[in-house]
Structures are given as C-alpha cells and as structure tokens.
Symmetry: C2
Subunit: 419 residues, 2 copies
C-alpha cells in the first residue's frame, strides 16, 4: 500500500487514550441559536475567521471580502466600502473560530447575529458551533458579498433559522455520528461529498418541519433551500468533527492532531498534548481541478476550517467510501483511493465506528500522529474547495491538497523541547 515504511507506532497510554476519545465521542445536534447568544466570548465587535490568527491587514482578498459582507449583513455599514474602513479602523477584533469552539468553511466568517447549529458532545457536554451553509455559487464563505448574499443571509437569520430551530426542538437531539456512518455507506466522504448525508438530514428535518405547523409556503421555501444544496450537511459534518476534537483536546494528552485549518495565508495545526497553540506554515495551492475559465493564478491558497473533518478520519482520509467524488475533484478512482489509503501510515488506527463497506468494513484511518507524519514524510491529505482571489467570484475549483509539512515539524520540535 506504500513504499515508505511507517515509523514505529507510539504505544503510550496517552496516545491510546486520545485515540479512544476520538472514536468514542458522541456529537449530537441539539439545536440552534444566534452566534452572539451561544458562542463563548462572542460579541458584536468580534469577527471570527477560519484558520490560525491573522490581522485584517494580513488577510487575503477573499477573506476580507467575506468580513465586509458580514459587517454589511450585521447592519454595521451600508456598503462594502464602508465595511472596509470599519474593519481596518481598530474597532473590530478578529479571532480564529477555533478559539471559540466554532469552525467555518472557507473564509469561515462568523458575526454575532448569524444563526449557528449547536452540536454537543454527549459524554463531556462540550459544544461546537457552525453557521448554516449558504449553498454554492455566490456565497459569503467564498468572498462574495453583494446584495444577493446579504439578502440570503438575512432570510436565513429571519425566516429559515427560527423555523429550523423550532423543528429541531420538536425532533430532539439528532445523532450525527450515526448519520455520518450511514453516509459513508452511501458514497459520501462527508467533506466534499455530502449528497447522501444531506438527503438523510432532509428527511429528518422535513418530518419535524411539517410537525411545526408552519404555513405551507414557508415550509416549502425552507425545504427547497435544503434540497437545493447538496452540501447543506457540510456544516453539520464540520461541527461534528469540531465536537469530537474538543473532546480529544480536553484530555490534554496524546500527540495527535486536533485541528488543521487555513486562513488563506497560513495553515495551522493543533495537537492534543499541546493544547490550543497553533503550529503554522505558509499556505499553498496544488493538485486542484479548476472549473472552466479559471486557473491557479486566481486561486486563494488553503483556506477554511473544514479540514477538521480530515483530522478525525473523514474527507480525504475516507475517499474509498466515495469513489463518485472523482468526477468533482479530478483523478481516477484508483489513484484517489490509493492516496487516501496511504493515510493509514500516519494515523493511530482504524476508527471503530466509521467503516467503509468496500474495504471489507475496515475503519477509516483516524488520529493523525504528528511523529508519524514527520518520520514518514507523508503529508495529510485534505479535500478542499478553492476560492477566487477576486472578491465576489466565489468557488473556482476543488481538489485534494496537502497540509504543509512545516506545521508538523514545528509541532514535533515543541514536543521534543518539552520532552
């Protein structure tokens, strides 16, 4: 399966304990709230973003555009130009979503009045937060910020969210772990392919939505919004992975990766035994299938918090579950599966619950071992969408990329230092 001998496995009780938490975590979707009411430390003047810390000045154009779109949505400014001035004025603070138990796809912008799904890890009670996926095309997470985007975000907040929130109350907690396990049996890797997972979620939420007794036209609009976006479940997959990650991180032991995320300039990782510290390296663009009319020159380097799904063994680590993704991200099915299977050389073990029928029900490779990455030289794969550098354009490609080795070298240096 590989031509590189894996490094000797770490067998410490700490590593096993961290990996055990990764497998045993039980993330449940328990409801929704506005970000400002739910996310710890969230406030009107704070904007959360994807990846490791970055200043307004340092941000890519796509992330800046998304920040501005968020401020316009909040009603803090009337225009994008005013928002740029406000964002750079010092009034607004910026912080990684990951520092606030949250995570977001692509630019990952979260402002105070955005509604968020709340996913609670059942054993620990730890909670993760994520915004609603807006759909493909012009979306804030890709740096689009025109009137269409603002209008959709406001509809989500003012109409969609109250309805879904009420439906979730009626439905009761939803078991995301079970939903993801079933989606793996239905051809999703639950990062860049969420078709089956979205279809399942649609079924569950539709029953609850009808039970709310809301007017038919409101029900229909809400249902069409979900049905029209095959990536709707991505938000829940991210929040699920973040909840797992929080549970592993809370152990405070084990040299396994808890977070991988990019801000478009740098990619950063976190390690269970090293807490909330970021270990970063420059972000890049590689191995991407660009949509017609777009090229690498226009691409924003690795950006987004959704690689938290790979941190727990999904996404690019589970490509064998989702052969049909090859038509979306490029490459032959055989190549993609072979690359994905190589992740077994840098992980602690096979997930006990997330299994792939086509591989004779082997578990997905889970728990990225920092020391194995460094010793084998095999970089973790991530499935990713690519945002244009040009504000307002949105997604221009997708593919399988790698987390830079520099992140792992930096983390291992710290592990060696504290010995």
């Amino acid at each position: 399966m590989t031509d590189v001998l894996p490094a000797p496995s770490q067998t410490s009780a700490e590593l096993a304990a961290a990996f055990g938490r990764l497998c045993e975590a039980q993330p449940m979707l328990i409801g929704m709230a506005l970000a400002g009411d739910a996310i710890p430390g969230m406030r009107p003047d704070l904007v959360l973003h994807a990846g490791p810390p970055i200043t307004w000045e340092g941000m890519t154009s796509a992330m800046r555009a998304a920040v501005c779109g968020g401020l316009v949505f909040e009603g803090r400014c009337a225009t994008v130009e005013e928002a740029e001035a406000l964002a750079g004025s010092g009034t607004i603070s910026f912080a990684p979503a990951h520092d606030h138990q949250a995570a977001g796809a692509m630019a990952g912008i979260i402002t105070a009045s955005m509604p968020v799904f709340i996913v609670e890890e059942h054993i620990s009670g730890l909670r993760a937060y994520v915004t609603i996926n807006e759909g493909l095309g012009k979306a804030l997470r890709f740096g689009a910020n025109g009137p269409e985007v603002t209008e959709r975000l406001r509809w989500i907040r003012d109409e969609f969210y109250p309805l879904i929130s009420r439906a979730l109350e009626l439905a009761g907690p939803m078991d995301l772990k079970q939903a993801i396990a079933e989606a793996l049996r239905r051809g999703d890797e639950v990062h860049n392919r969420n078709k089956a997972a979205t279809s399942q979620f649609f079924r569950d939420i539709a029953l609850a939505l009808v039970a709310t007794g809301a007017p038919h036209e409101k029900l229909e609009k809400a249902l069409r919004f979900i049905a029209g976006n095959d990536h709707f479940f991505l938000s829940l997959s991210i929040a699920h992975a973040k909840a797992v990650s929080l549970y592993v991180e809370a152990l405070g032991k084990g040299d396994i990766v808890t977070v991988m995320a990019g801000n478009g300039v740098e990619v950063g990782i976190r390690v269970a035994s090293l807490g909330k510290r970021w270990f970063t390296a420059p972000a890049s663009v590689a191995n991407v299938k660009f949509f017609d009319g777009h090229s690498e020159d226009e691409a924003t380097p690795t950006m987004g918090d959704s690689y938290i799904t790979e941190s727990i063994g999904l996404g690019a680590f589970a490509l064998a579950a989702a052969p049909a993704i090859s038509s979306f991200i490029g490459g032959t099915v055989e190549e993609l599966i072979a690359r994905s299977e190589r992740m077994r050389d840098i992980t602690v073990g096979e997930h006990s619950y997330f299994r792939i029928p086509a591989l004779g029900y082997r578990g997905v490779p889970s728990g990225i071992d920092v020391r194995k990455v460094v010793s084998t030289g095999i970089q973790p794969l991530i499935n990713t969408g690519i945002a244009s550098r040009i504000p307002g354009v949105g997604q221009i490609g997708a593919g399988v990329q790698q987390i830079p080795m520099g992140c792992f070298v930096a983390a291992q240096a710290e592990l060696d230092r504290i010995g």
Copy 2:
C-alpha cells in the same frame, strides 16, 4: 474474473438492437391510478400474481394467503376463510401481473382497487404498473393478511394514494433512470437495498406534498410512512425495470431475457425474440441468510417479479455498487462482488448509463444472453427476500439466489427449434 471461458458473443444486429433499447429506455414516473382504472384488462374478478401462470390450487400457502388478503381488502369477503372459498369457487380468475404490464414484489398480488404507480417509457409510451410497497414486517406481499394488513392497505388507498397522486401531478414526471443512476453512486443496488433511492424520492415527493397544501397532520403521516420504509423505492425500481423490459420486448427480436419471475412453485423467464411466452423450471431455496429463529424448512421457494431488476443489470448484477448490503444478505463483500462480476460472462454488454464508481465507472453487466447462460453454465444471480410458508409470518430471510438453468435450456431449445 472467471474460470469458464465465455461463449462467443452473438453479434447479430438484432441482439445489438435489443441491448440498445435496454440502455436507451427512459422510464418516467408519471402518476398514479387505481389498478382497475389503469392496468389493461384489469377487472374486479381478476387477481394478478407474481411469476408465471399458476392456478389457485397450485399456489403456495404464502401466495394463497396474499390472495385472500386482497379479496378481504376489496370487501369481497369479511374473513380470510370466506376469501379462501371465493378464491377456489371459480368466480375469481388469476393471471401473471407480467401479462398485464405490471409486476409485484414477492406474492405480487394486485386487485382492482389497489392504487398503482404508473411508469411510462418515454420513447415508446409503453406503461408499467406497480403497487405501493407496504413496508417490512406483516405485509400482504409476504402472505400476511390480518386486520393490520387490511387496515394499512385501505389507508394507502383512501388517504395516502390521493395525496401522493396529487403531489405527483404538481411535481411533473420524475426521471427514474436518473434517480437509479444516482442511487448506484450512493450504495444501492436498487433491489434489496433502496435506502439512498428512497431518501432521494422522499426529498422530491416531500417538496411536492407540501405544495399540495394538504393539512399538516395528513402530510406528516404520509411522509412518516415513506420515511419509515427503506424499501419504499423498490416499487419504483420494479416498475422502472418493467417499463424498460416492455420497450425491449416490443422490438420482438434479440435472444435476451426480458422477464425473470417466480410464483413460489415455478420460476419463469421470457426472451425478447420469443415474445410473452414463459419458459419455466421448478423453484428452489438456496444460499439464503435466515433471520433468527427461522430455517429453510419454513421457506417459500423463489417468488416475486422483482427479479426484473436483475434482468436489466441491477440488483445482484450490481452488488459492487452496494457493498453494505452484505450485512443484510450475508457473505463477505469480496465474495459478493466477485459473484456479481461473473454476470459479465452471460450478458451482452455494459450498461451505458448505469455505472459503478468503485469499478472505475464500468457499466453494470446488462442484457442476459440466453445462449451464453446455457453455454457457460453460469446461472443469473438474483437478490431476494424469503417469505415464510406459514401464512401471516412474513419475511424470514434474504440472500443471493440463482435462476434455474432449466428456464434457459427450455428457451434455447425453442430458439434452436425455430432456428
């Protein structure tokens, strides 16, 4: 892939034309009606059943029980005992559903006031009919016929059917070919595993159901009925295959199988070049995984019209698309896929539209060539459920069985005779 050399392919234009029709057929779900209003030749005193022709006296206990349940449902009798007397009185006629452009799972009983889905092959306008799947457990198709079954059938006719029928009018024709192709990408083989296909159908019908403006409690009950039955789509898969089969059969040429079906006593096939004639052999039980507490002694031999799905390359011919089915029907994933792939030796070619991502997007083996079956000695596989011989018990197992060689030997003898 096999240790038996395949027979030389027939290359006649007729065979190619029949196979071409099999691949190009475009079955669309266009609506619903009551069987007596829609199925050609249907009348109150006619009961349609699965498989080749059989008399009341010759039927298995499971099929008799289903016939009686049908007559009670129709209000022709108050009790099952009265229904037995009526069924044997000579007043009631029996005919294969396949002789009336219809097909049914397991016992396959269709009576005049049962609602049916109408699936039209778009190029030819030929129509196929199938009843609504009642769900697992005590269901008429498995020979259950108590008050619970009657009540459910009447709710289906009186409440569910009018609502679904109205929703289908609003939705417009649904492309079943596209739906099945997508389900193959989501882990279904669309015979014994219909989870993804049902989930997709739920999404489409839910949007249309809400658009009917029907009262919320009726909507919710209808949606829960579909959501609660992972096999709901099976009816549509059967009708889809029957519509394809009618289109191939209408060509009147090509030695490929158009129908494979069992009545619990005999299994019969039809061949495109031989029209509507049945070629039969005794039915048997083999290779079945029985549910706990049940055994072969209690099993009804091969019964049902659903093997029409295998006739077009789905079901047991497409196991590589549905590795997760192994937990339902037994056997390792590798064994099941290897057996399924062997069907390439007895088929005309690869389906041009139904493709399996995990096999590098190869088409499913389609168009069973009678002469290849006989010359290779490889019997077509079928995925099947097993009904108890004991009336009222229902399903007691599932597995991969084979269509008896005798059917193909008889058909080839006729082909040789007419030369």
